[in-house]
Symmetry: C2
Subunit: 294 residues, 2 copies
């Protein structure tokens, strides 16, 4: 396997996949994204779906991460327990076929409470490998399921998942608040005030219904409801994430439109956070994994 001559990295999630043609130093010369997520591909269809990627990017060996390694994906790559660093992921790579390796997810269990991640570990450890994050840091990774991870010595020491993004989507798409949450969420006074409130009070689920009641009673404007609700949810998330005193830096990794909301909420505490682009961290992480396979 000549990984040094370049390889294809795939971030294959539930609803989307993103593929990159990389050289051995992680430089990307070609890439594409489509909606062929894991849920739209049956197990027997994966070889064809993989061939399609090679048809677009070239005939190179492939490193895959994300839900493609779940029990709904191509081949299950069992979770590596914390503490987990790059070498632990490399040691537990699962070969789906001769030239296709799947990166395992990471699990954490304490006091009978379990947690799992799949995909975020590449970004978190990639940020460390690229020198973008201190080996001892607190990292938050917003998305459908936000992760708060504590890094120690460059490994994921422990982490916790908060279902913030999914809760907002559920409320927006299916709840009694749906017609109020159609507006854009922005870092504005309403968002910051709601985040500040939720950092200091238990707002979820106590204050969710007030989003509607306040509009009905003329105490709030309908167009502020989306930012207000997002502020309540993300502020709650930040309060839970920062419940334990943290001496380390706080870093937020992910899509820029989400990291800016979390950074703004964290700024309502006495802390600040550095934002990092998740895609950049993914490429750094997957390149580091490929290097250590050689």
């Amino acid at each position: 396997m000549r990984w040094a001559e370049g390889f294809i990295a795939v971030d294959w999630g539930t609803t989307n996949r993103r593929a990159y043609l990389l050289d051995s130093s992680g430089h990307c010369s070609n890439e594409f994204e489509d909606s062929k997520g894991v849920l739209s591909v049956s197990t027997s269809e994966f070889p064809a779906a993989v061939a399609e990627i090679r048809g677009k990017l070239g005939d190179r060996p492939m490193l895959l991460a994300g839900m493609v390694g779940s029990n709904r994906g191509w081949k299950e790559a069992p979770y590596v327990p914390c503490p987990a660093g790059i070498d632990d992921l490399v040691a537990k790579l699962v070969w789906a076929d001769k030239r296709e390796a799947i990166v395992p997810g990471v699990s954490y269990i304490a006091d009978g409470r379990g947690d799992v991640m799949r995909g975020e570990e590449v970004q978190l450890l990639g940020a460390v490998a690229a020198g973008l994050v201190d080996p001892d840091a607190v990292v938050c990774h917003p998305g459908t399921h936000n992760k708060w991870a504590e890094l120690r010595g460059g490994r994921i020491h422990k982490f916790q998942t908060i279902m913030t993004g999914e809760l907002f989507s559920l409320l927006k798409d299916h709840s009694i608040l749906s017609d109020l949450l159609i507006g854009e969420v922005g870092v504005n006074d309403t968002f910051c005030a709601a985040a500040r409130y939720a950092i200091n009070n238990e707002a979820i689920p106590a204050d969710l219904f007030s989003v509607r009641a306040n509009v009905i009673l003329g105490e709030a404007k309908k167009e502020d409801a989306a930012s207000y609700t997002s502020g309540l949810l993300i502020g709650t998330d930040v309060r839970i994430g920062l419940a334990t005193p943290i001496a380390a830096d706080i870093v937020v990794i992910g899509r820029p439109e989400l990291t800016k909301l979390y950074a703004a909420a964290i700024a309502q505490t006495d802390r600040t956070a550095v934002e990092l682009d998740g895609e950049k961290c993914f490429l750094a992480g997957i390149t580091e994994i490929a290097k250590r396979m050689n």
Copy 2:
């Protein structure tokens, strides 16, 4: 209007309506329920929908409560602000037509945070009127949107809504937990342990994702997930409701399958709760309103 000769009471909600033929003492001689909720009836169709009720129960004057008085109902009956007793509701009845009166809902605003109820007020005040609840009590009314109300001198002094029932439905019908929440929720060891945990810890949204992770990692059984999640949600609800020390009795009014879950969660604190059937309380309340109209 000869209400003393009997009347029809209608509990007209969002998705269902229930109608009763009552004599002046509240005795019910005929009734029916169907799925013709407010959302399935356009404004112009209400006279026909009301005639249909009379066709089944008789040609009597009618007292209507619930979402029929909302801005999506037949005719809007503006909210009566707290403190609100039976006489306050009677004073603000809205006549939709010559023989059809709609009971207003109740609102509460404090520190810029608003709350509303529509339908529950008849049950809460009916329970007091029937002598089932002390005029100074804390009453919880589970449903899609649980209400915690403080009664003082037989009036609703203040209240707070927790979106517990709707959150459970959203998680069950549309979330990543859906396939785990298909089982029956029961008052069992799993439910009580989860409720106890949530009474002592901030479990929502912190622990929701662990429902799935625990099953994946073999830390919990799939068939316990529904009771566990319900315990987390209702335990959280109870913790918020009982956050202020309460000297008064705690009463849970509603559908028996819900009141038993709340009573079991409350029993995980150092308090106990009395359960009352919501339908019985509705009939007592609506009869008391009719009496005071004469």
